[in-house]
Amino acid sequence: MTGTLILLTLAMPAGLAAHSTLVRSQPPAGATLTTPPGEIILWFNERLERQFHAVTVTDGQGRTIPTQNPHVDRADPTKLTVAVEPLPPGVYRVRWRVLSRDGHVAEGAFSFSIQP
């Protein structure tokens, strides 16, 4: 008990419990592309709910890029796809949030860039 209290007293860490994790993406995290992607595809380690997911794409200045029709694939419920308009060269950040089948909400982000 005292050991526990010591730890709780000396340090009270707090954190976010991520559950679903991003396994891979298209474009991959950190990738440098020569042609802009028509869509962004995310693959997770868990089956996702078809509702309550969000993908936002921002450019180097923090402006939000319009996206269309984010959806979880019916045949592969670990796959989330979102269409993006043709992107000009620059650095982009993709932020995602998903609800997995076991009721856990997870979120994360990655970046990619497009060369002129």
Partner: protein, 543 residues
Amino acid sequence: MIETTDMLIRGVGFMGIVVSVAGPILFLVVLRPALSLTGGDGPNQEIGRRIARTCLASGLLLASATAGAVFLVGAAVTREGASLWDLALLKRLLLETAYGNILLLRAAGAIGMVLLFRFIALYPASPRLWKAATFAALLTLATFPLSGHAAALPTREVLAMAVDGLHLFGVATWIGGLFHLRLLLGPLSKDPVTIATAVRRFSPFALASASLLIATGLINALQYIGSLTALLGTPYGLTLTAKLLLLIPLLTFGAINFLILRPALQHTKQHHNPLLRRVTTTMEGELGLGLVILLLVGALTALPYPVEDSPGRSNLAPVFSWLTPRWPHFSSPTAKRVREQKAAQKASPNPVRPAEAIAYSEFNHHWAGAFVLVMGLLSLLHAFRPRLAWARAWPLTLIGLSIFLFFRNDSNVWPLGPISFWHSLTIAHVLQHRLYVVLVAALGIVEWLGQTGRIRRTWWTYIFPGICVIGSLMLFLHAHGGFERADSLTHVQHVVIGTLGFLAGVSRWLELRVQGEDRLYGKLWGLSVTLLGLFLFVFFREH
């Protein structure tokens, strides 16, 4: 905060379903036949009524946990923008997601069970009602694997859900059965023959449940952990290791009941039989550890399986890192130096935790551990040599510890920092630390007064082991967050301290229950605290 509450709510939900399922099964399979051998309809009905009332309460607990789960997911999905009280959103969550559908089913099952148990409390002799309640409880139990980790697996989810369901059923019939049986020992205390018959019939039932639990646990471990590295090097694996470590004393208690006490109860006819007292104690030990393990299961549900974890997370390096003892710090940077370095780092474009702050914190942990070590050694001495009056003073080390923590906790606040005492109480984390300090001191004083016979030991004695268990659980929940920030060493340390804390809490509880008749629990308590102190003193480190 949401995640910690989520794990707690899941743990409470597990407790609710486990007790609800166990009640009618225990009554139909174990108690009714046992009671009919010894009594007749009178005791049968009274026992049935009591079980139904307990199940009614656990059904309400489950319904509340389910409602809590809905709101928690709602809160998590509305982190950005929408209100949690948006009814349209909750409706969408419940009706348009598989998880929501399952929660709705569970809530309906819980309410159905509550109604059935209410009827059973009125008509306890009706076998139909008992069977209907068993059916409803089992259906409700089936919703757990459907909304759990297994349901989210990308492949082989059906097998995983089936194994999870059987695992939970094994927990229910063993731990839940024990829970009911323990509650019934009070009302049955004037009827030792019935108790002996019930315990004798329950033991093989518990053994079968434990075997199911172990078999399904092994299948899960082989499928989702895969390697020893993953067992010791991932958050899921480490938490499972703690669960397995706690399972050892739990099985030991079960074996004592089955192999020693059960045969001895064969010819019990006396009131105040010391054997029955031992049965009660070992049952409480089994039960305490079982409930703790259930809460750990709640924590496990929020961690990814090692096989689906990100590559590179299965790593034994942190485990080996703390397995190497090293000398504790004999000096510490001054509080002023720590403040200056922290301020410098804040101004830096890439701030890191200053080395001075780490050394300051390690010094605190090492020397707080020294207090715990002394307390453990004194407790051990007291358990082996009860006539040594001075060894009874072990609670006084808690007062010393609280004074040390009061001075060293926060380098920014009085008495070592510039922030005044009163102002420091308006800072949430400092207030929290101060409250813990007061709690440690209060426990020390009260325990010491109890040890020296100045005050009578009553219910308050159990606060100490209770806090021990709850605090340890909190460490497991916090450890999870730490690991997500790649702070794997913190996770390893929290698992060790949490496990020893659980063992200390349960053994202290039992030591108090047996009131000096059996010194084994006192020795276990002393040993757990000594190991805890030793760990903090020579193994603890930050990075």
